[in-house]
């Protein structure tokens, strides 16, 4: 009986959870493997991976200007990752950061375009608030339907991204079209009164980003709200059992999450683009998902990962001008890194065992 199957087979076995040290080792190994896989990909294209990686790193640091550009890449990424992390901590799959950034930028731009005669700092504060409120409201919509009808938030937030994008194209082609641009549809450049000031060569968005980082860290770790977010994320029924108002927590957290993304939009428009462009979010909202997950939703981890990713983004633009390879390489490599990190989590709780069949 069954003699045909005397071949060894592989099965999955649960192990006692590894220590923190081993866990970190595994994750580092996964990261190195990911870079190796990326290197093989480069090799396959006929380039020297070490040379290319070198170009990326030196490209991001080679001059003060280059470094400032890297930081400029980092600001929106860091901020929106923080926003996304708040929602993810609650297991609310907010992949609508892109849309929340856009709506925040749109709301802020209204004041930049039509009230640029206000005093500089008042204008910036109003723009800041408008961005936060716009993004917050855009985050509130899916949260409302989630808490009321359990509507799938992943797809809902995603649809809102596209809707937001078309709001910009509508404004660009119609009501907000720059009369000065001869036929070509675009929105007027902000006057310098509506632009963010520079501190150490980079617009002061970086200061706001760092402040947000500390605030989010404290919020998640030391406040009642933060505690509620973790409990809701772990189990809604436990949260209800503990007397928490789950609906309220979902709504509140998503307003904050969307609000942070909205601020990102304002910073991007007023600090980086100096106008409202349809590329204001430009995929940052999606990259933020990868960043926050890679950082295990830890704010300081997010700082580290978003810095690494910005080096990659800036470096790959240098790589493009040097080798003619597309900047999309950055998202390919980001994807590969996360794939490997996702895969390595397995080895923290399980292992494979090779077993010989037939007991002998």
């Amino acid at each position: 009986m069954n003699s045909k199957s005397h071949v060894p087979f592989i099965r999955t076995v649960k192990i006692s959870e590894r220590s923190g040290k081993d866990t970190i080792k595994i994750r580092i190994a996964a990261f190195v493997l990911a870079l190796t896989a990326g290197g093989l990909f480069i090799l396959f294209l006929g380039y020297n991976p070490l040379e290319l990686y070198g170009t990326i790193i030196s490209g991001a640091f080679r001059s003060k200007m280059a470094f400032q550009a890297t930081i400029r890449f980092m600001i929106p990424l860091l901020m929106s990752s923080l926003g996304v992390a708040l929602a993810f901590k609650m297991r609310f799959w907010n992949i609508g950061a892109e849309g929340q950034i856009i709506v925040g930028a749109v709301c802020a731009s209204y004041f930049a375009l039509f009230h640029d005669n206000w005093p500089h700092f008042l204008l910036l504060i109003v723009m800041f608030a408008a961005g936060a409120i716009g993004g917050g409201l855009w985050g509130l919509i899916p949260a409302y339907f989630k808490s009321k009808y359990d509507t799938n938030e992943t797809l809902f937030t995603l649809m809102l991204n596209y809707i937001a994008l078309h709001i910009i194209t509508y404004l660009r082609d119609g009501p907000w079209k720059d009369p000065g641009s001869s036929g070509f549809p675009k929105i007027a450049r902000f006057t310098s009164n509506a632009q963010l000031d520079k501190v150490l060569g980079v617009h002061f968005g970086w200061i706001i980003a760092l402040i947000l980082l500390v605030l989010v860290f404290i919020y998640l770790k030391y406040t009642k709200h933060g505690y509620e977010i973790s409990v809701v994320g772990e189990s809604k029924s436990t949260a209800k059992y503990a007397g928490m108002n789950v609906k309220k927590i979902i709504l509140r957290t998503m307003v904050i999450s969307g609000g942070i993304c909205g601020i990102t939009g304002m910073i991007q428009a007023a600090g980086s683009d100096m106008t409202l462009a349809s590329s204001v979010a430009g995929g940052v909202g999606f990259t933020a998902i990868i960043v926050s997950w890679l950082a295990y939703l830890n704010p300081f981890g997010i700082l580290l990962v978003s810095f690494l990713f910005s080096v990659l983004e800036k470096g790959s633009s240098v790589m493009q001008s040097t080798y003619g390879l597309s900047t999309y390489f950055a998202s390919v490599l980001q994807g590969i890194i996360l794939f490997f990190i996702l895969g390595c989590e397995f080895f923290i709780r399980y292992k494979f065992v090779l077993t010989k069949k037939g007991g002998k």
Partner: protein, 316 residues
């Protein structure tokens, strides 16, 4: 005019049909794969390039299928074998797939002679509309049913086959059982892992073909970045609209196709609406569909119960 509108809707809905059926195959096996956009993008790129170099529609289709499958393979290994979070893995696949597709596209563009990529005549002839002899000349019905390109027929055929697979075959029953309760399926002697892999991979391949449609037909045979352009995401939402049934996916896709092209056919004399709102329409409708389906919940037409949850046999 109305007939033309319907025909255009079918054309516009075809990539959605592939994406939706592909995702149904994933979700029926208990895997919520948000990477449809990525798998379609990979298929778009591979299909286009294969068509560009080999002048053969069958090679292009095969390449698109394999590329979509490759994307699905990454997802399958991570979620089925390594039990990684399905949401995050799917999202990453979407970003990665679009990235690698655009990267490869630009790579080919830069290395091409004329800095543009256009499918050769030979293959555009193969993917142009087919007039089915005897049937295509029937008034109204002819153009409405029998004058499409090979993709459209292939899509409908796949959807019907898939529908029969789930409702009329033992394997289909087994797959549905896995999607509902993998533990029960496993105990009943069904090879859970194997069937999950097969369904996720096949689903990915089908998504890939849908991507090829985007790159080869929609853009008129010229390579442009982001050929899929959000269709994959709509497809994921359409699965809910189709309540996980391939037959319903056919109609759902064509209805959404109609929304996509409404701006070209809506009589401008009645009311002028800015183009941006037309472009927004499919996404608004999808959002509404999500809300409506979540408000009225029925017991039978629900997402497979284990969807999104990984299965480990020795879980205690």
């Amino acid at each position: 005019m109305f007939i033309k509108f319907l025909i255009a809707a079918v054309f516009a809905g075809t990539p959605l049909l592939f994406g939706t059926v592909g995702e149904i195959m994933n979700e029926r096996a208990g895997h919520l794969n948000l990477g449809v956009e990525g798998m379609m993008a990979m298929g778009a790129c591979a299909g286009f390039m294969a068509g560009f170099f080999y002048d053969s529609i069958s090679i292009a289709l095969l390449a698109a299928f394999l590329a979509g499958m490759l994307g699905a393979l990454i997802y399958a290994v991570l979620t089925i074998t390594f039990m990684a979070n399905q949401n995050v893995t799917g999202l990453t696949l979407a970003i990665f797939g679009v990235g690698i597709s655009n990267f490869a596209g630009e790579f080919m563009l830069v290395n091409s002679a004329s800095n543009s990529l256009k499918l050769p005549e030979q293959i555009t002839a193969q993917i142009s509309n087919i007039n089915i002899p005897g049937l295509s000349t029937i008034p109204v019905l002819g153009p409405l049913f029998f004058q499409y390109n090979i993709f459209v027929y292939l899509g409908v055929l796949i959807a019907i086959t898939c529908g029969i697979y789930y409702s009329r075959t033992k394997t289909g029953l087994n797959v549905r059982a896995i999607g509902e309760n993998p533990g029960a399926a496993d105990a009943a002697g069904i090879k859970v892992t194997k069937l999950k892999y097969i369904n996720v991979l096949m689903g990915g391949g089908i998504c890939g073909i849908g991507g090829a449609y985007c790159s080869m037909i929609i853009n008129g045979g010229v390579w442009m970045n982001n050929p899929v352009n959000g269709q994959g995401w709509i497809a994921v939402a359409l699965v809910i609209f189709a309540s996980w049934k391939p037959f319903r996916a056919i109609f759902g896709s064509f209805i959404f196709g109609a929304f996509n092209i409404l701006k070209y056919y809506f009589p401008k004399t009645i009311i002028t609406i800015p183009n941006a709102f037309y472009d927004m329409l499919p996404f608004v409708i999808t959002a509404l569909v999500l809300v409506v389906t979540s408000i009225r919940k029925s017991k039978e037409n629900q997402q497979p119960a284990s969807c999104g949850v990984n299965y480990f046999r020795e879980e205690r």
